[in-house]
Each structure stands twice: as structure tokens, then as C-alpha cells.
């Protein structure tokens, strides 16, 4: 097995935030937000400690300190101290596809928080993705860490080597959400050429990229994760997007790099997409912590199915108007949006649900660092197949438990996966179920017991389930389920990619476009393809164990 150590074990690495990150001693809580379900969600404010960033020792709490808590004894009503925040994440959207998906994501995130946080107070859940800024302040200051929401700015960096998409975003309804200082754009585009994106623009914009990333990290109290969104088949998202990964790894080694990659479908109209994808895969293999592969065909199939359900006019089959799943404008049936909007929304929902347990409370929390810990048994095998249910809700309000069980069954069906994959008929290395809404541990366990017999798990991880329960459901649904599977069913996608690559490469088709870029040689291609082959080989080895009987290994024998 290929195992790549991620650096020596040893003295404690520091998470982002310096070594002097001081103690936060908790006092009482001050906020109660009402959910759409009328449950109380609490945020925290620490009173009772007058520690501020930069000092190393907690000093004694002093009442009446300037800007401090009022009424520390008993239940304080005012906010004083900046909330002991949760972690933050920064989204880096690269290229046309990355930015379009990113845009959908920000739209959904805003609406989710608006639905949950009805008092307009800037709380920790929001702070995980947004900054609160006083727009009257010029320059860099103006970050407000508490109190009413003034102006929300997305923790995002937008990168594109063409201006079209980013300009559209900046003229659209979300223009105020993005900080104009967090954009990197060029005019000429990458010409669907990974080498242009990676080497030419990489070199050209390295400093700027570093600067923007550092800035966004500085705005975070405790940065936990970078979400990178891009496509594999083009030039910018693929090339520059993966160039970024190396930069992030060097500059922020302890911050997770979670990559959402849109893989080209069979009928992709970019001829060189296999080249771009394979070259990008090598970078993903080496520098990403976790990759969520998506492909357009699957998204398209899902949307078609939804359309079918809606247009079939079955009794009671209407999409709830507030459901964020299919449309950004809230309109249920009209396809007035651009063709990819519905598909992008699915991916955006994926990202929202992925982070829900880290943002909102629940009886069994799952933080982002737990994803990698539980789902990546070997460093190379970090590709996770995702599936999302429900994709639409019926008009029923009182959904009996049978529907809940249906949700679980759907998550394992190949029609709900976000790439063309069939996890049920392949081998599971690990599986995570992230549930949102009013679902209890017994429901979860019942469904795992029910579905387990039809799934095959690798011999050393027969009960490889990671579960989480988040109390806050997504808007418009009573509950939802996101399943992340580390399963050998990703292999066919990679094998097919390699085949398409080889068809082109054997004829040296379009190769000169790449080789004329400085630093590119044929060895880049051969290395990339052998990196992919090694990965495929690992999956093959695992698949070979599929039908072998599970035997217990001999244990250590102890002299009694």
C-alpha cells in the first residue's frame, strides 16, 4: 500500500492562530435565536474573562470594563466580549465553473442563515462563512465581531482568468457580499489549457494569490478549512485551481484543503479535457486532503428526474416554494434561470450540508476535521462519493417515519450520487452519514442496521460508519441526509478518464499547445498518468479483497 506520511509526527503543530492563542474561559450565554422550528439555538459569548487576542494570560474578570459585558452576574442580556467563535472556513472559487457554483453557494448560505437567524445578530454560525463589516469604514478596519449584522462579507477569494463570470457576479444581486479586494481576474483566459492556468498564470499571480489568501486568513479567528471549487476539464479551474493547492499546502499546512472538483462527462465539448483532468488529478493526489468529485451528467440526470416528478403533476407533488434545493430564486417550476443554475445548486447544497454540523448544534456533532480523520484510511485514498437526499419535498407536512427510512435508502441508490457511481455494488472503505433535522439516534441506527446487509465493507472496517446529527434542518425540509462514501466505485471514473487521455496522447493530439509552455515536457504527462495508474491500482487491490471471506487475524498471545 502506498502510504505517504504527511510530515514527521512530533511536537504539536499549531492550528492556524498563533501559539499564544489564549484561554477562553466561559461565562454565561447571552443570545437566544429562534429557529424556524421554534427551538432555541444558543450562541455563546464569553463573559467573565477579559482576555483579548494577543495577551497570553487570562486576567481577572472586571465588571464595568470598557466594552465589556454588562451584568455578568446572573444572565447577562447584552453582548460584551466577542463570541468564543467556532472555526471559520474560506471558499476559494477558481475558473468559470468554480465561480458559478460558488455564487450559488453564497446565495444559499445567506438564505439559510436568514431563515435560521431571525434577529439579525451576527453569531458564530454566520461567522464561519461571513465577516461582519461596517462599510462606512474605509480600508481594512471595519470588521465587527459582534452585535447586529451590518454588512456581511463572504469569506471568499474569487479567481478567474476571464472577466465574464466574475463581472456578472459583481453586477448581480450578490455584489455586496463580495469584497472587491478579494478578486483576482485577468482578461485573456486560459484557453482550456491546464499548462497556461497552472504555469503561466500561476507564476504571474502567485504573489497576488498569496496576498489575498493571507488576508482572508487574517480575518479569521481560527481558520479550519479551505474549500476549493473548480472544474477539472478546463484551463483556469483545472490549472490555476490546482496550483493554488500547492500554495495552500506550503503556506497553511494545518488548514484542511477540501476540494470540490467537477469532472468532465463523456460528452464534454472541450477536446483537451482529458489532458487537463489528468494533469490536475496528479495535483489532487498529492496536495488535497479530501476531494469530492462531481460530474455534470449526474447532476443533469438528477435535475431531469426532479423535473419529471414535478411535471408529471402527481397529486401533492409540488416542490415547496422555500426549498433551496433546485432554485435560487425560490420559483418552483419555471426554468428562467440559466441552464446550470439548478445543477450548481445541488453542489451548493452539498457544501452547506457538509458544514452544517460544524455550524449548528446537535446531539452528535461532526466537525470538518472529523471528515478526513474518519473517511481517509490511507493518504492517497481521499476521494469521497457524495449523495444528497431529499432532493425535493412533497407537499406533505407530516411525513411519517416511512419517508424518513426512504431518505436513507435513497442515499445509497446510484441515482442520487453526484458522480456516475454505484457504491452499493462496490466496496466501501468508510461511510459517513450526516443527518440534519429532527432525527434521533434510534432512527439512524435502525436504518444502518437495515441497509448494512446490502452493502459490502472492506474486511478491516466492517462497521465503518461515521454519523452525525445536526438539529437544524435545511430550509424547506424537515430533515436531510448527506452521505459521503469512500468507495471503490470511483474507480470507473478514473479508468475512463485515463482511457480518454490515452486516446488523445497516443496520437499526440493537441500536445504542442502544452509543450510550448515553459516548464512543460512530456514527462509531466507520463508522470501524471502513472500517478493516476497507481491510484487505480490501489483501488484494484482493495476490490480484489471483496469476495474474500473475512477472517479474524491471530491475536497477540499473552503469557498468563
Amino acid at each position: 500500500m502506498l502510504t505517504k506520511q504527511r510530515g514527521p509526527g512530533g511536537p504539536a503543530p499549531s492550528r492556524y492562530g498563533n501559539e499564544e492563542t489564549p484561554v477562553h474561559v466561559h461565562g454565561f450565554l447571552t443570545e437566544k435565536l429562534s429557529l424556524n422550528l421554534d427551538k432555541s439555538v444558543t450562541t455563546s459569548a464569553t463573559c467573565g474573562s477579559s482576555v483579548t487576542y494577543g495577551t497570553s494570560a487570562p486576567s481577572e474578570s472586571a465588571v464595568g470594563e470598557p466594552g465589556g459585558c454588562e451584568g455578568r452576574r446572573g444572565l447577562p442580556r447584552s453582548l460584551g466580549w466577542p463570541p468564543c467563535s467556532m472555526t471559520q472556513s474560506v471558499v476559494v472559487q477558481v475558473g468559470q465553473c468554480g465561480n458559478q457554483i460558488g455564487c450559488c453557494f453564497w446565495d444559499l448560505a445567506l438564505r439559510e442563515h436568514a431563515a435560521v437567524n431571525q434577529k439579525g445578530i451576527y453569531d458564530e454560525a454566520i461567522s464561519s462563512f461571513f465577516r461582519n463589516v461596517d462599510t462606512r469604514v474605509v480600508g481594512d478596519g471595519g470588521s465587527i465581531s459582534k452585535g447586529k449584522i451590518c454588512s456581511l462579507k463572504a469569506r471568499a477569494v474569487l479567481i478567474d482568468m476571464e472577466e465574464g463570470v466574475v463581472n456578472e457576479i459583481l453586477q448581480g444581486p450578490l455584489r455586496d457580499v463580495f469584497d472587491t479586494k478579494q478578486l483576482i481576474t485577468d482578461i485573456s483566459g486560459s484557453g482550456n489549457n491546464w499548462a497556461v492556468g497552472h504555469r503561466v498564470f500561476g507564476n504571474l499571480y502567485q504573489e497576488q494569490i498569496l496576498e489575498k489568501l493571507r488576508k482572508s486568513a487574517e480575518h479569521c479567528d481560527c481558520l479550519q478549512c479551505f474549500f476549493i471549487i473548480h472544474s477539472m476539464g478546463g484551463g483556469t479551474g483545472s490549472g490555476l485551481g490546482t496550483f493554488l493547492l500547492k500554495v495552500l499546502e506550503d503556506e497553511f499546512p494545518e488548514v484542511y484543503r477540501l476540494v470540490t472538483s467537477v469532472y468532465p462527462s463523456g460528452e464534454d465539448d472541450v477536446i483537451t479535457s482529458p489532458y487537463n483532468s489528468i494533469l490536475a488529478m496528479k495535483e489532487l493526489n498529492e496536495h488535497a486532503d479530501c476531494v469530492l468529485p462531481i460530474d455534470n451528467q449526474s447532476l443533469f440526470d438528477i435535475i431531469s428526474k426532479i423535473d419529471l416528478m414535478v411535471n408529471s403533476g402527481k397529486l401533492g407533488t409540488t416542490i415547496k416554494p422555500k426549498s433551496l434545493v433546485t432554485s435560487s430564486a425560490g420559483a418552483s417550476k419555471k426554468r428562467q434561470e440559466k441552464p446550470f443554475d439548478a445543477m450548481n445548486n445541488i453542489v451548493a447544497n452539498l457544501l452547506l450540508n457538509l458544514t452544517s454540523s460544524a455550524r449548528f448544534e446537535g446531539s452528535l456533532n461532526m466537525d470538518l476535521n472529523e471528515i478526513s480523520m474518519n473517511l481517509v484510511p490511507f493518504p492517497q485514498l481521499h476521494y469521497l462519493v457524495s449523495s444528497l437526499t431529499p432532493l425535493y419535498t412533497l407537499a406533505d407536512v407530516n411525513i411519517p417515519p416511512r419517508r424518513l427510512d426512504q431518505m436513507f435508502s435513497d442515499a445509497f441508490s446510484k441515482h442520487h450520487q453526484l458522480i456516475q457511481a454505484d457504491p452499493k455494488h462496490n466496496l466501501y472503505l468508510a461511510c459517513a452519514l450526516m443527518v440534519r433535522g429532527n432525527v434521533q439516534i434510534s432512527d439512524l441506527r435502525r436504518n444502518i442496521e437495515r441497509l448494512k446487509p446490502s452493502l459490502q465493507f472492506v474486511s478491516w472496517n466492517q462497521e465503518g460508519w461515521k454519523t452525525s446529527l445536526c438539529s437544524v434542518p435545511p430550509v424547506g425540509h424537515s430533515y436531510s441526509l448527506l452521505a459521503l462514501a469512500n468507495n471503490t466505485c470511483v474507480k470507473p471514473t478514473f479508468v475512463e478518464l485515463r482511457e480518454r487521455f490515452m486516446r488523445l496522447y497516443k496520437k499526440k493530439a493537441h500536445l504542442h499547445h502544452y509543450l510550448q509552455i515553459e516548464g512543460m515536457e512530456e514527462s509531466c504527462f507520463t508522470e501524471a498518468v502513472s500517478s493516476l495508474s497507481a491510484l487505480i491500482q490501489e483501488y484494484n487491490q482493495l476490490d480484489a479483497t471483496k469476495s474474500m471471506p473475512v477472517e479474524d487475524l491471530p491475536r497477540l498471545s499473552i503469557a498468563v
Binding site: A12, R15, E370, S442, W465, T467
Partner: protein, 453 residues
């Protein structure tokens, strides 16, 4: 004497809240079945153990709350404060922003050393509030990263700093089918470290408590809240005050010390379990009456057949005839699935408690041969009823009950270890393969020792 409770991680904090709530509710329960004076003594004793006084009369739990991410502690503090009946101290919580990622190595090697000072300071402050410290009660789970890893680290530290105080770790055994994929690794690392530094490990299995909720309490959609409440009830029935000696009406002063003395005669055998009877939903309670004879008969059979609740007990299991040579007895035990005990502590609460006949528990066939049954079996009583139960009995035992679950966890962890899966996540933070091997060795030893009783 007082007990300082340490609530670690999500599980520890969620359970800790329910425990204090159960203790408080019972302490102020209207149905007492004893004299007013006695009830006041009971309340005072409970208070001394678990709560300290606050100016406006709201008791403060003697607890330190630790978690590496803020959400759970915030909720716990708020829930307690909102109840208006008791609360946590204003400065009794410590948390960080980013959790331990279900990584034992991260909890133990990174969070532990980094936050050692502030955490121990908090503990010290709480300990200083006690007139007399009996010891520490540490609530943690084995499956995650903070409770397990940081819990192991803190327990080790307490051993150094408070060598004369006792430490009991309340460990939550995860569900057999995953809550966390690496739970078996985290579990074996936790158990092996705690075995060296803790004085006793009181184990509760999620699977067992879940069944109690389903079968006895008749809860349809079981939530963690339900599970934690059942757990808290069991712990309350162990830790609430009892008379210090036969016939006396003074309450026991040193619960932890007495527990250890009775139940942990040898450092190689530290695993304790609790069984509680009766346990049922409030609706059913109204229609049930109990006799001590009935309760004790069931409890005894639960012990010897290793049942965790009073339904579905296997009545076929009988103690082997005494007089057999020890080797014969061991193999017979294995065949009959008979659960041999090292020591048992029976705690009886309620009406006519002095009339209960305890002969069944004094049978030497229940025990190993090293201790005379008089030493192996102890009973604590109080006339004061617990919670809403006119009569209730709890059995804390040091027996073979965990051999099978422990064996299963070690086996699964071993299979995973052999393929080296997930090991890189641990070596990243300084836990090497040798540490794993050490843990395996120690636990195989524990399994073998218990099996050969």
C-alpha cells in the same frame, strides 16, 4: 467529603448535565419515605458531595467543563442556568475553537500539553472550594477525540498532582456499529492509558442503555437525551448518600474511597459495571409494586447471567457447584456463560430496606476464590427512597461482564491495525505503532486476567 466532576468532550458534558440534574431532582423529590430530619441530612450530604453554595441560594455544581469546541459547553451552561434550580460556576468551563477531530492522538498529544495549565488550574480552583476532597469523577467517552484522548491525558496529570485523591473514570462504551469509524483505535488507546492511571473504570455501554430505553422505558424514538437520562439515573442511584454502617443513621462520608475499597482489591482488575432495578417509565411505575425478595432475585440473576436489564434474563444460568477444583470451575463457567465476580456492592434504597434478605449475594459460588465472601460482598442502605421508586436497588460489580465487549473491540482494532488503515492520522501527532502495540498488549492481558477468574 466532596467529589469534583470533570466533564470532558461532547459526551461527557451532555451526560454530566443529566447527572447533576438527576442528583438535584432526587435530592428535592417530594416522596421521601423517611422522616423530615433524615431527609434534611440526606440533602445536606448530597449537597456537600456535589454542590457548593452560592449567595442567592442557587447551588453550583462542583464541576469543571472541558471541550475543545464551544457548542456543547455553551448549551450545557445555558440549560443549567435556565433551569433556575442549580447551575454551573461562572468560570468553570474551558473550551477551544477547534475540536479534536475524533483523533485520540490530537486530544492526547496536542490539546493535552497545550492546555494543561489552564485546565488544571480550573480543577484546582474547584478542588479548593471543597472542605475535604474525596476525589475526582471524570465523565468521558472512548470513541471520540477529546473525551478519550484529552481525558487520558488529564487523568494522568491528576495522578501526578493529586496522588492522594481518588480518580474514578466514567467511560461510555460506544455502540458496536459505529458512531465513529476509528472508535476502536480510540478505545484501546484510552483504556490502556486509563488502566495505568485511573483507580477505577465505571463502564456504561451505549448498546445496553439503548436497550433499556427501548424495552423497559418504552421510548419510541430514542434520543441521546433519553440515553443520558437513564445513565444519570443509574449513577445517581450509586452516588447519592447512604448510611455509613449497619444500623447507623449517619451518612457515609467518603463514597469514592469506600467504593474503591470494596470493589477494587487488585489493580489489575479495575472494570466496574452498574445494574439498576427497577427501571421503567413513569406510566408503568404507577401500576407496579415491588418486594425486596423479587428485586434481589432478579438482580442476582442479572449478575450471574450478565444481563444488563430485568427483561430477557436467562434463568438457566446457575452458579457452578462449589467444591469443584478451580480449573474445572473455570471451564464450567465458560460453558454456562456464568459471570464470575470479584466483588459486589449492593446499594438499597427505600421502604423496609432493613428487611431485605441478602443471602443470595453471599453465596461463595458467585465469587472467585481469592476473597472471602464477607469481603467480596458489601451492602449500603438508606431508607430514603430514590427518585420516584419506593424501592430500588443498584449493584456495582467488578466481574467478568466486560470480557466479551472488550475482546470484540480489541479484535476489531487489531484487524484494522494489521492493515495499517488510519495509522497515518495518529502518527501525524506523535502516537507511533509501538504505542498501539503497547495498548494491545496491556488489554490482551486484562482480557486474559478476567477470563481466567
Amino acid at each position: 467529603m466532596s467529589i469534583v466532576t470533570l466533564q470532558l468532550g461532547q459526551c461527557g458534558n451532555q451526560i454530566g448535565f443529566e447527572v447533576f440534574d438527576a442528583l438535584f431532582s432526587d435530592s428535592h423529590c417530594p416522596q421521601r419515605l423517611c422522616s423530615k430530619r433524615e431527609n434534611e441530612a440526606y440533602q445536606a450530604s448530597c449537597k456537600e458531595r456535589f454542590f457548593s453554595e452560592e449567595e442567592n441560594g442557587v447551588p453550583i455544581a462542583r464541576a469543571v467543563l472541558v471541550d475543545m469546541e464551544p457548542k456543547v459547553i455553551n448549551q450545557t451552561l445555558l440549560k443549567a442556568a435556565q433551569s433556575g434550580r442549580w447551575k454551573y460556576g461562572q468560570h468553570s468551563g474551558f473550551c477551544q475553537k477547534q475540536g479534536s477531530g475524533n483523533n485520540w492522538a490530537y486530544g492526547y498529544s496536542v490539546h493535552g500539553p497545550r492546555h494543561e495549565e489552564p485546565i488544571l488550574n480550573l480543577i484546582q480552583k474547584e478542588a479548593e472550594k471543597c472542605d475535604s476532597l474525596s476525589g475526582f469523577f471524570i465523565i468521558m467517552s472512548m470513541a471520540g477525540g477529546t473525551g478519550s484522548g484529552l481525558g487520558a491525558f488529564v487523568t494522568q496529570n491528576l495522578q501526578d498532582q493529586y496522588s492522594s485523591s481518588l480518580k474514578m473514570n466514567q467511560i461510555i462504551w460506544p455502540y458496536g456499529t459505529g458512531e465513529v469509524i476509528v472508535q476502536n483505535y480510540n478505545s484501546i488507546l484510552t483504556l490502556s492509558h486509563l488502566y495505568r492511571s485511573s483507580d477505577a473504570l465505571l463502564v456504561h455501554e451505549n448498546d445496553a442503555v439503548h436497550k433499556i430505553c427501548a424495552k423497559l422505558m418504552n421510548i419510541k424514538h430514542i434520543s441521546f437525551s433519553d440515553i443520558n437520562q437513564v445513565l444519570a439515573h443509574q449513577l445517581g442511584s450509586v452516588f447519592q448518600p447512604t448510611y455509613s454502617a449497619e444500623g447507623s443513621f449517619h451518612y457515609r462520608r467518603n463514597p469514592l474511597g469506600d467504593l474503591m475499597e470494596n470493589l477494587v482489591p487488585h489493580p489489575e482488575f479495575k472494570m466496574l459495571g452498574v445494574r439498576n432495578i427497577p427501571q421503567m417509565s413513569e406510566n408503568s411505575l404507577a401500576y407496579s409494586t415491588f418486594t425486596w425478595a423479587g428485586l434481589l432475585k432478579h438482580l442476582r440473576q442479572m449478575l450471574i447471567s450478565n444481563a444488563k436489564m430485568e427483561e430477557g434474563i436467562d434463568w438457566q444460568v446457575r452458579p457452578p457447584l462449589s467444591g469443584l477444583p478451580t480449573l474445572g470451575k473455570t471451564s464450567l463457567n465458560k460453558e454456562l456463560h456464568f459471570n464470575t465476580s470479584i466483588a459486589n456492592l449492593l446499594i438499597l434504597r427505600g421502604k423496609d430496606v432493613h428487611s431485605a434478605d441478602l443471602g443470595g449475594f453471599k453465596d461463595p459460588a458467585l465469587y472467585t476464590s481469592w476473597l472471602a465472601p464477607d469481603n467480596a460482598f458489601n451492602v449500603w442502605k438508606t431508607q430514603r427512597a430514590f427518585s420516584k421508586y419506593e424501592k430500588s436497588a443498584a449493584l456495582v460489580s467488578n466481574s467478568q461482564f466486560l470480557v466479551k465487549p472488550l475482546d470484540v473491540i480489541v479484535g476489531k482494532a487489531w484487524n484494522m491495525f494489521a492493515s495499517k488503515a488510519y495509522i497515518h492520522q495518529y502518527t501525524k501527532f506523535g502516537i507511533e505503532e509501538e504505542d498501539f502495540l503497547d495498548s494491545f498488549t496491556l488489554l490482551e492481558q486484562v482480557v486474559a486476567s478476567y477470563r481466567n477468574l
